[in-house]
């Protein structure tokens, strides 16, 4: 998919994220908006994952370790044809599988996540499996920056390095904020790149809300043979909606009707500039 269409999709996706969170009355607005460009590029330009090949294991894999940003993932999977918008609109309704964290009951979801610090070990297991089976598919995993305080993340890193998992691509959604405040105030995690490097990873930093930058970076992974790669994607929490950007209280705030309408009109204006 060309860059212009991806940029338009990112705006449309933001509208859908806000719509489903507004309609259902719950959701992780800030984190979903920060990682949406990453998911957009991954599903539409990088990964070999589709509703058609999903039941088959000879494809790429995606584990969203920061499960709470599920509204972004649900939005992209819906657009990719894994289920209908009508199904997505059951988000948070009684007895719906579309809930606040990913579950495999929803088509296209690879693994049940939500408790932080779990996804990377699972991705490492999948990547080892690909190596054993001598398959060339890649395994991608999206982690939050606050999540990096979980010790199990670093346990997984040691194994990724030991088994030379150059088929493992980790993306850190570096939006600088977590539920309590700035990551560096809550529990400092910098220097992220040096930490991953010392655990045997190749690291790349990029602008995680810039489609061109993301396309470029994903074309250049893995960086080195026999080494796992981490992309530290600098993002803005709440990216794309001026009054939501960088606001701690938008971690899981639901927009009011006025806020929702204002956000949609801001996004529509940006979309119009592409016409």
């Amino acid at each position: 998919m060309n860059e212009k269409n991806l940029k338009k999709k990112s705006l449309e996706y933001r509208k859908t994220i806000l719509e489903i969170i507004f309609q259902s009355g719950a959701g992780h607005t800030g984190g979903s908006l920060s990682c949406i460009d990453i998911l957009n590029v991954l599903y539409n330009s990088v990964m070999d994952i589709s509703p058609k090949n999903f039941p088959n294991l000879d494809r790429d894999h995606f584990i969203q370790s920061k499960g709470h940003s599920v509204e972004a993932l649900f939005t992209v999977l819906c657009d990719c044809g894994f289920y209908s918008k009508k199904d997505l609109n059951t988000l948070n309704q009684f007895n719906s599988h579309f809930i606040g964290h990913p579950t495999k009951k929803v088509p296209g979801i690879e693994h049940n996540t939500g408790a932080l610090g779990h996804g990377l070990s699972v991705a490492v297991g999948l990547a080892i499996c690909k190596k054993i089976d001598q398959k060339n598919n890649k395994v991608f995993s999206l982690l939050g920056d606050g999540e990096l305080s979980e010790g199990s993340v670093w346990e997984a890193c040691t194994t990724a390095s030991k088994y030379n998992l150059d088929n493992l691509i980790v993306i850190v959604d570096r939006n600088d904020l977590q539920i309590t405040g700035k990551t560096e105030d809550v529990n400092p995690i910098e220097p992220i790149d040096k930490k991953f490097k010392s655990f045997g990873f190749e690291t790349i930093s990029t602008n995680g809300n810039n489609i061109s930058d993301l396309l470029y970076v994903f074309q250049h992974v893995p960086v080195k043979e026999n080494k796992p790669t981490v992309i530290i994607a600098k993002t803005t929490k709440g990216s794309g909606v001026s009054f939501i950007e960088n606001q701690i209280n938008w971690h899981h705030k639901v927009p009011s009707k006025d806020e929702y309408e204002s956000a949609i009109s801001e996004l529509n204006e940006k979309l119009n500039s592409y016409e």
């Binding site: 049940n112 990377l120 297991g125 999948l126 499996c129 194994t159």
Partner: protein, 313 residues
């Protein structure tokens, strides 16, 4: 007199090696536990079928889940204590909730580690795992059950936890016995009381029944090797037709075999006496597995004595 066999842990590793030779899809994951898991020969013979993650139980369970998601038949092997406490959240979410084909093997289970103390004992594992949906819990008693559990695990296709101890176990079951996960084995039938045991305490219950026979007291002995799903039908049938029920387990008296039986008796309005033997809720005494079980009234002699008391004989 029944023959003393091997430690169940050895039977586990020998059986797994035999099966893994035939099935390259079987992958073992260890956390610096191949020595204590008796998996050194496995590692030497099938180095491409063993993944070592170091001392990192959470990672062991996560990596096992990923391998299973990729289509492997996975055995995650780690000391029962660390596996089921340290990595409980990974078991809950990555294995059970995600419904993956991972068999978690808790080695040196119960109080097998003896004088190493409470950090190394797993007398909580039945209780914690019973409360997790989609977990199957198996505690094999003798070498036969130990081997059969592994053979069935290979085609089980769902989350499974099997615990193994490390002392040689007496052969209880005669040739031709059938083993099925979820279905208890009636070792013997007697009209007076029923002793229900799980795992390595079965041989103690069995020896107690031999002592009782000398006093003309006849026991039924049930090997309740699967703690979940529980074989309710067999248990209810025996509790309706016995004068008393005695349960024996190498586990806390909270949340294990005994309380499971108590719940069934109460909820099915069965009028039968019940006594639960296990590790009481206290700072556990130090000693070998055998001495500690004896101390907490689980010697064959004491089980026999308590059985007589239950029957007012």
């Amino acid at each position: 007199m029944n023959k003393i066999g091997k430690p169940n842990l050895e039977v586990f590793s020998e059986t797994l090696l035999k099966e893994a030779r035939k099935n390259k899809n079987i992958i073992v994951v260890t956390s610096d536990s191949r020595g204590s898991g008796k998996l050194v020969p496995f590692g030497k013979e099938l180095p491409n079928q063993i993944i070592e993650v170091g001392i990192a139980e959470q990672n062991l369970v996560g990596v096992s889940s990923g391998l299973a998601a990729g289509g492997k038949i996975v055995f995650g092997v780690s000391p029962a204590s660390f596996l089921t406490a340290r990595a409980l959240e990974q078991i809950k979410n990555d294995v059970a909730y995600s419904d993956l084909n991972v068999s978690l093997i808790g080695i040196s289970a119960g109080i097998s580690y003896g004088q190493l103390g409470s950090t190394h004992h797993s007398i909580h594992d039945f209780a914690t795992l019973r409360a997790i949906n989609n977990m199957t819990i198996v505690a094999p008693a003798d070498n036969f059950e130990a081997a059969e559990a592994i053979k069935q695990a290979i085609s089980y296709n769902h989350p499974l936890y099997i615990r193994y101890g490390k002392k040689p176990m007496m052969d209880i079951h005669p040739p031709g016995t059938k083993f099925k996960i979820g279905k208890s084995i009636v070792v013997k039938k007697g009209e007076d009381l029923t002793i229900v045991a799980t795992g390595e305490t079965l041989q103690r219950a069995y020896l107690a029944s031999e002592i009782l026979k000398k006093s003309n007291i006849y026991c039924s002995i049930i090997s309740m090797h699967t703690i979940k799903p529980f074989d309710k039908e067999t248990f209810i049938e025996f509790s309706q037709n016995s004068k008393a029920i005695l349960t024996v387990e190498e586990h806390s008296i909270f949340g294990g075999l005994g309380e499971c039986c108590a719940s069934l008796i109460a909820q099915n309005n069965i009028n039968v006496k019940l006594k639960i033997l296990g590790i009481p809720d206290e700072y556990m005494i130090n000693g070998s597995q055998a001495d500690v079980l004896d101390h907490y009234d689980m010697s064959p002699e004491k089980i026999a004595e308590i059985s007589k008391d239950l029957l007012n004989k």
